[in-house]
């Protein structure tokens, strides 16, 4: 994970000339001392583009999870805390969203909003929202009847204050774990959308888009598509391991 972060943030050092430096005479060259991972179909360094693409992937992953978690937590907390018809309506909507396969939902949203960075983040965020809503609702339900919450209610605290001060601190651990795991699947979703041509517009070196371009050359210049694929694999693995580690750390039952 740390390596990945370093790699992404070192992008300007790895490729000081920028992500779109083309050299048409050097197209589709195999890995060499000058281009460690080779060049793509427009003679651009794949290493440089992977690094810039890393920045992009991390940014999109984080922002879309923030969007999904933000909306999801709000919806889940309201539904769990108030119960009754609020719960029924909100969770009904969440169920509808859950009924769609995640990537299909994201594709539908991007198709409606049009391709582009911001729309991809919104689409992937909405895709992840229902899981957060369900998790938070369950957690809120379990702590809502605890003595300290009822005490706060008896003292006449406002609902918003109770949710923010008394409920949230006690349910955040699983949400954090879910968020770190969700970053991995968000990055995968973004890569899938770009692969399908619905993500970023060229020349942004999104990893999914790079795989899509590399596909044409798989049999003549494998390095164009294989390295971005490896990058996605490592990143997703990294975030999954991070999520597992966080869970071990934050789950009181696992502490000995």
């Amino acid at each position: 994970m740390i390596l990945l972060l370093l790699f992404a943030f070192a992008a300007p050092l790895i490729g000081p000339e920028g992500m779109d430096k083309q050299d048409l005479m050097m197209r589709l060259k195999p890995p060499s001392a000058k281009f460690l991972l080779g060049t793509d179909q427009l003679g651009r360094s794949i290493l440089t583009r992977l690094a810039y693409g890393g920045q992009y992937s991390l940014k999109v992953g984080l922002v879309s999870v923030a969007i999904g978690a933000g909306i999801g937590i709000l919806v889940g907390a309201l539904a769990g805390y108030y119960g009754g018809w609020v719960d029924k309506v909100l969770m009904g909507l969440v169920e509808i969203l859950l009924a769609f396969p995640g990537i299909l939902l994201a594709i539908a949203i991007v198709a409606a909003l049009g391709p582009g960075l911001v729309n991809v983040m919104i689409a992937v965020g909405i895709r992840g929202m229902p899981t957060f809503a369900r998790l938070v609702r369950g957690q809120v339900l379990s702590v809502r009847r605890r003595e300290y919450v009822e005490a706060a209610q008896a003292l006449g605290s406002a609902d918003g204050r109770i949710i923010a001060r008394h409920i949230f601190p006690n349910i955040m651990a699983p949400v954090i774990v879910l968020a770190s795991l969700d970053i991995a699947s968000a990055i995968l979703s973004v890569a899938s959308l770009s692969f399908l041509g619905l993500g970023s517009q060229p020349p942004i070196p999104d990893w999914g888009g790079m795989i899509d371009q590399g596909r044409q050359y798989l049999r003549t210049a494998w390095w164009v598509g294989v390295y971005p694929g490896l990058a996605i694999m490592m990143t997703v693995l990294g975030f999954n391991l991070l999520g597992d580690a966080l869970r071990d750390l934050l789950d009181p039952r696992l502490k000995t």
Binding site: Q22, L24, R27, Q201, P202, R215
Partner: protein, 537 residues
């Protein structure tokens, strides 16, 4: 991708199952997999997309036109050099004033439904072309601008009366998709909608079945008036991805493919089971700059863009054998009207000249960005995705080269359907377009693309003097005069600098060695001479 592969795998399984099923029932006499028996004459051609429909009035896409051209025929056909040769008309003459074209029709020709081909059918067909509201108006206009009336002289003789003499009449009217003549009897029996899905023509192949998204099956017409095909069936499969087309060819899933990248061409040339051929074709690729939108209203800005682009370098390195860099609105290799070297007002790449022109137009570099009156030089460049060879990649290079001048270029790569909608409306700053024809007649390119109101002039550029030259060039049959007028026209287009010629796409075809009788020409493809033989080269 994975799904497609799976799909192909399943299809293959189905085929295998189908074959063995046929064998075990003991009724099949073609013995598909027999070791010593004759080769089953079933040829599979890869088409870039599925067909749309077959009403000749409304065929606007190359894949449908390719299939329709095997089933239906025109009065006049083209030989492999693109010259007119008799089709359904045995001979034709023009009156001295150039206003009446008389076509003498071939006798004893029958449509696939058994009905007769005669002058009545020809008149009915051209009346539909001229008056049927079902055809898109801008297509109908192409014919109604030229033809005044169609008259039946006798059962095998037709007069077509023109509004004015037209040197390109055969190219503009007779040999276009609209010139495909189909059966009146079937049309009246089936109705326009159904007839468009199961075309009935006079051609060497009969339409058998269309499985949308999978294949179109044609079978040889045993009663064809000309030389009959040796094939049993001719199948067109839509395979949009060049990569998939190549795999299908290598594994024997297709006998002929026409979409492959430069890298594949190099690699396939090593393969002994495959033959690769490229020929220059009548296909132009270009950028249109919307001169009605600032900052492109300024001629100097448009000229700067022309000077900034090194089109030759991008085309030779990205496309190699698959294209020829182009200096004019006509094809350098394939058009007789393309000006001789030195006679064009072509733009040679010259970034300094481009910078100087931008400075003259008031654009100053501030912190690496071009600015004028506090505003940045910003625009959107539109490109289709995979419609033309390497279109997206070319657009990326264009963006890169213009960005180096300090322009802010937003590149939008779009799917074909929304892309044509947007560009045909003229709703763009700069876009990447192409134009394909089956002949090298200059008017068939210049009139639609650069004339005021032309159906491919999406940027809506207008130059009345240029229009006058183009009109004069079709009104005369004096070849020297025409050459001079087209020379002037092409140079004027360059001076106006809104039409940036990029390259002429060549036609590439890769075939399996066992496919014989294929002639690869710049004109339309016909497959009536194909047959399958041994694996010798």
């Amino acid at each position: 991708m994975l799904l497609k592969r799976l799909g192909a795998g399943v299809l293959a399984l189905v085929f295998v199952a189908g074959c063995s099923g046929g064998g075990s029932s003991g009724t099949a006499d073609n013995g598909g997999g027999g070791k010593s028996g004759p080769v089953a004459q079933d040829v599979v051609i890869a088409n870039v997309t599925d067909i749309v429909q077959f009403d000749p009035l409304d065929i606007q896409d190359a894949p449908s036109s390719l299939v329709a051209g095997q089933v239906m025929e025109q009065l006049v056909d083209r030989d492999k050099d693109g010259k007119a040769k008799p089709g359904l008309a045995e001979r034709w003459t023009t009156s001295p004033d150039g206003l009446t074209w008389t076509f003498e029709l071939r006798k004893n020709v029958k449509f696939h439904d058994g009905s007769d081909f005669n002058a009545d059918v020809v008149k009915w067909h051209y009346d539909r072309v001229l008056y049927d509201k079902a055809a898109p108006a801008r297509f109908r206009k192409q014919w109604s601008d030229i033809i005044k009336e169609v008259k039946v002289v006798d059962p095998y003789k037709v007069d077509i009366l023109l509004k004015a003499p037209n040197a390109a009449f055969l190219d503009l009217v007779v040999t276009t998709n609209g010139g495909f003549i189909w059966s009146k009897a079937s049309f009246e029996k089936l109705g326009a909608k159904q007839a468009a899905l199961q075309p009935v023509g006079t051609g060497p192949f009969k339409f058998k079945e269309w499985v949308p998204g999978q294949k179109v099956i044609l079978e040889a017409n045993k009663d064809y008036w000309g030389e009959k095909s040796k094939l049993n069936t001719l199948v067109f499969r839509p395979i949009p991805e060049s990569n998939t087309q190549v795999i299908e060819l290598e594994t024997g899933g297709a006998h002929l493919i026409t979409k492959l990248g430069q890298e594949d061409v190099t690699r396939l040339k090593q393969n002994k089971e495959v033959k690769v051929e490229t020929v220059p074709a009548y296909r132009v690729r270009f950028l249109e700059i919307n001169a009605s939108r600032p900052p492109f209203t300024d001629l100097k800005v448009r000229q700067a863009i022309n000077y900034a682009l090194d089109t030759k370098a991008m085309v030779t390195s990205l496309l190699g054998d698959l294209a020829t860099p182009s200096e004019s609105a006509l094809m350098p290799v394939a058009s007789w009207a393309h000006p001789q070297a030195g006679a064009t007002t072509a733009y040679k790449p010259d970034p300094n000249r481009a910078r100087a022109l931008l400075a003259e137009a008031g654009w100053q570099l501030e912190g690496g960005k071009l600015m004028k009156d506090g505003k940045p030089f910003k625009f959107t460049l539109y490109s289709p995705n995979g419609r033309y060879f390497m279109d997206k990649e070319i657009a990326e290079v264009v963006k890169n080269q213009l960005t180096q001048l300090g322009m802010q270029v937003d590149l939008k790569v779009m799917e074909w359907a929304p892309y044509t909608d947007l560009t045909a409306k003229g709703d763009f700053d700069i876009c990447f377009l192409g134009w394909n024809q089956s002949t090298n007649e200059p008017s068939i390119f210049l009139d639609p693309l650069v004339k005021t109101g032309g159906r491919g002039n999406y940027a809506k550029f207008s130059d009345k003097e240029l229009d006058g030259w183009l009109d004069a060039a079709v009104a005369t049959t004096d070849q020297a005069k025409r050459l001079e007028l087209y020379g002037k026209a092409v140079n004027r287009v360059a001076e106006n600098a809104w039409y940036v010629p990029l390259y002429n796409e060549s036609k590439v075809a890769a075939t399996r060695v066992e496919l014989k009788g294929y002639t690869h020409t710049a004109a339309g493809d016909s497959y009536d001479t194909l047959y399958l033989g041994g694996k010798d080269q």
